[in-house]
């Protein structure tokens, strides 16, 4: 894409009321727009990153057999009364609204209830199990605190998957597959090393649930790392048992972190409430065992910014960068050969299917370089009179800052 056509502009300053690093940088670079506290729009660059993150998650959810659907934001109170979660005492972050023709509806903050009810029409026999169903859906949460940019919003996208199994044992098999799939997601988006499987309290159906916590100062959580086996426990668990649940190690290290995912055994809580059962091989009716698996693509994006960005701006891992290449022409108003060569190179990149942002704007080199650093595309390629004279391209790695002169074929060979 030509940067002269991209409608967003970068800014020198973030809104003065914005405190989170992720929001400041993403707003300055033109990735997101703040509508209100905790409510952000995704501009073209932000949407590109979001869609790549969604793509990674979708591949991994499909790989473990997930089937994608799309539930609704508006929620029928009757469904939530069945599980006891309609009242504001039970759930403190509902948004509710009135329907003109009478009655109230809620805005979904999660989807266990409507999906469990839906599955009653589709699960009859043991042959219909196991199943795992997921969606990418906007959630609404009436948060009292919304100061963390896209790490915690009142409206945000969530991937939520729900598993339906015959029994505890079948559930556990899928649960472990989900853990492995989540690890793959975090690795693929570039935060695998900093992200820990973290033991959390399990509710009434299981000793533990699990969170995935990414170590960063921007976090609101505290975890306790076991360096011996690379897992962590959260604050709830540490209060009850001061040792690693995996190896018993008692020397745990306290760190600040962001919860980037969570997985939770639900047992038969919802299947009992909604009568979600199946007939087993003996013709006997059994309750379905469920699990829920959340992961917020927006929170993930914000966490990646918090972890990887530097003082000059964003730094995207190749897998989720809005473009792979930032081609910067220093032709300026002069045009001439530099402009011509830049145009030709851009055409060749396009033909080869290399996702390229082409800075064809009439701005000073300093302004262009500052924008490139702020926008954070992994590889910056500069064409100038100097590079033209040498018959090379100037290639900068945004992450390391290393600059090298190389030929087009050397560049594409990487």
């Amino acid at each position: 894409m030509r940067q002269s056509e991209l409608f967003t502009k970068t800014r020198k300053e973030a809104p003065s009321d914005e405190v989170a690093k992720n929001a400041k940088l993403l707003i300055r670079a033109g990735y997101i727009h703040k509508e209100m506290a905790g409510v952000y729009s995704y501009l073209p660059l932000g949407l590109l990153v979001m869609n790549k993150i969604i793509g990674v998650i979708r591949e991994e959810m499909n790989a473990i057999g997930g089937q994608e659907l799309h539930l609704t934001a508006l929620q029928d109170p009757a469904v939530w009364r069945t599980s006891g979660r309609w009242s504001d005492e039970a759930v403190d972050n509902w948004f509710k609204t009135n329907v003109k023709v009478g009655g109230e509806v809620g805005l979904a903050f999660t989807h266990e209830e409507p999906l469990t009810r839906l599955m009653v029409s589709h699960i009859r026999s043991y042959k219909d199990l196991p199943r795992s169903i997921y969606q990418f859906q906007t959630k609404f949460r009436n948060e009292t605190r919304a100061k963390s940019g896209i790490l915690r919003g009142r409206e945000f996208l969530m991937k939520d998957l729900y598993s339906f199994s015959r029994d505890e044992k079948e559930h556990e098999v899928f649960y472990q597959e989900a853990i492995a799939a989540y690890r793959k997601v975090f690795r693929r988006v570039g935060i695998g090393e900093q992200t820990y499987l973290t033991f959390a309290s399990g509710g009434s159906f299981s000793k533990y649930s699990h969170e995935f916590q990414t170590v960063t100062d921007a976090g609101e959580d505290t975890i306790h790392l076991c360096t011996a086996c690379s897992v962590a426990v959260n604050d709830e668990i540490i209060a009850a048992q001061s040792a690693c649940p995996e190896c018993g190690n008692k020397t745990l290290t306290e760190r600040t972190s962001v919860e980037v995912g969570n997985i939770f055994p639900l047992g038969t809580k919802y299947s009992e409430a909604f009568g979600l059962s199946y007939l087993d091989e003996k013709g006997e009716r059994q309750l379905v065992h469920m699990g829920s698996y959340g992961l917020g693509p927006g929170r993930l994006m914000g966490t990646i910014v918090e972890l990887l960005a530097d003082e000059k701006g964003l730094i995207w891992p190749e897998s989720i960068a809005p473009f792979k290449m930032h081609l910067v022409s220093l032709a300026g108003a002069r045009g001439g050969d530099v402009q011509k060569e830049a145009e030709k190179l851009y055409e060749r990149f396009m033909k080869k299917g290399i996702e390229t942002l082409f800075d064809d704007r009439d701005l000073s080199p300093g302004e262009k370089f500052a924008d490139a650093d702020l926008i954070g595309i992994p590889t910056r390629v500069v064409i100038s009179e100097k590079t033209l004279a040498e018959g090379k391209l100037e290639v900068k790695d945004r992450k390391t800052g290393a600059i090298a002169l190389c030929s087009e074929s050397e560049l594409l060979g990487r």
Copy 2:
């Protein structure tokens, strides 16, 4: 995909409170699920169709220079007060809700206001124009009537594009491109012939706006067709002038129709309210001219069902079908050679990238054929002992009902 693994089941009966043909069939075939009146979830088959429709629209919007973003559902009242559309007197279908920390927010029924405000940060000079920006976004409308299935919902997906131009003339150029792009969309999804560019009232900035109306008895609108030049006028216009605006023909034919899209010149209404201006070549400040262009993928899907489905079930055009091929094995519980050949054929289709739903379930031929007709995939391919003996495949065209025996290479050659 293996039908034995698809979690949805077809049903013989639609919910008794459902009156619309589109909803009845889509629910019976397992494409959608009714959460409440006017609120439908999209199940895997429905989501596949929806995503293909979105893909077609996205291609055509990109082709006219559209840049995609994603605005929010939650809306700041201040923005809507600026344009005078916050009050329930001005807009009668708001959903509004309270924020815990104080104040009210709305659920977006359209997005002129937030996008115009956003553009103030990004449009400065005539060099920044023209621009066209679009999104696929869930809209919420507090409708009093919601009996038309996915043709009119309280929550529904919408593609809304907004154009920003220097003046009336530049606006008109884009407006005509948008008309052409909309025509392409309707043609590509299979309802081009039944869909008419329809003159509607233009508001204060233009004599006309335009709707795209598809002729079907399921519609809530009435249009007046000019068979001479293949355009139509809506009820508002016919009241003011009883002739075709294109050719003056006074013999117009009244038809029932569904509005599948609308495009609207907004003039400077919103740019004036939000101070969206630019500096022209002379350094003088000018207001931006806007247009808005709506198209609901869900309504489009419902309209296609209303138009094309028959008494046996859905019929999808190839371009938006959830799968291209429905491979039906009649091996039954016997398994044997039929099962083996069906599995091999499925593998070959998968390798060739042919989107195939493989009915590998242990059901009677009658049940399988009824499901195939209901689900409506364009081509049904049957493997049975009979076809195996003849060394052929039985191929049925869902639309025409024509059945032919042909070889695999003949089938793939089509």
